[in-house]
């Protein structure tokens, strides 16, 4: 069964550094998402992406964050200057269409900011 894959599984970065989290969505899916889960808290929506542009973003997704689909397979989340509070598990998801279609998740990247 096709899967969403995320790399790396764990990223350790110094505060203030840039970090790029990578995702390969399922190949025939058109909508892509990033979510995060801070330890002990709910999974939170960050951003959705369709047709090479951001469709929707949350208040969390400020100017420090950006997303990109640099080629036909990868979908990346960049944090420009990391803060301690960016430490979290970041999940990528994709769906065939938006709306009420199920989203398929990767295994996540655990980001630790020192």
């Amino acid at each position: 069964e096709p899967e969403v894959t995320q790399t790396p599984s764990h990223q350790v970065t110094q505060m203030g550094q840039e970090v790029i989290l990578r995702c390969v969505p399922i190949s025939n899916h058109l909508y892509f998402y990033w979510y995060r889960q801070i330890l002990g808290q709910k999974v939170e929506f960050l951003v959705s992406f369709y047709n090479n542009e951001i469709s929707e973003k949350s208040e969390i997704f400020d100017d420090q964050f950006s997303v990109e689909r640099p080629d036909g397979s990868n979908f990346t989340l960049k944090i420009r200057s990391t803060k301690l509070e960016d430490s979290a598990m970041y999940f990528c998801a994709s769906s065939v269409t938006g709306g009420n279609q199920p989203q398929h998740f990767g295994d996540g990247t655990r980001l630790s900011i020192l």
Binding site: V4, Q6, Y31, Y33, Y35, K42, V43, E44, F45, S48, Y50, S55, E56, S58, F91, A93, S95, G98, G99, N100, Q101, P102, Q103, H104, F105, G106, D107, G108
Partner: protein, 115 residues
Amino acid sequence: AQSVTQLDSHVSVSEGTPVLLRCNYSSSYSPSLFWYVQHPNKGLQLLLKYTSAATLVKGINGFEAEFKKSETSFHLTKPSAHMSDAAEYFCVVSDFSGNTGKLIFGQGTTLQVKP
């Protein structure tokens, strides 16, 4: 606004006994509801979905959930727990306000299965 509330943060059952994980939702329109499961160090796996068809929804691994509009509930059940069911379970609702169906998660329920 869409929201879900999982009524139990932790549920403990014995192997072979029934499982009940409770979820209430709030929605300003007919909701799309999901249950996801997260095993340790793994991603979020879809268990089942409700999207306004049959109110009793069957999912993978013997789980099912019943949509009850009058009670605004979407509880997850399984007749007989297995050790491999031990995991974190999330009740989730789609939010269509931004047209992309972003997911709104509950706090999660940790299911412990005792031998």
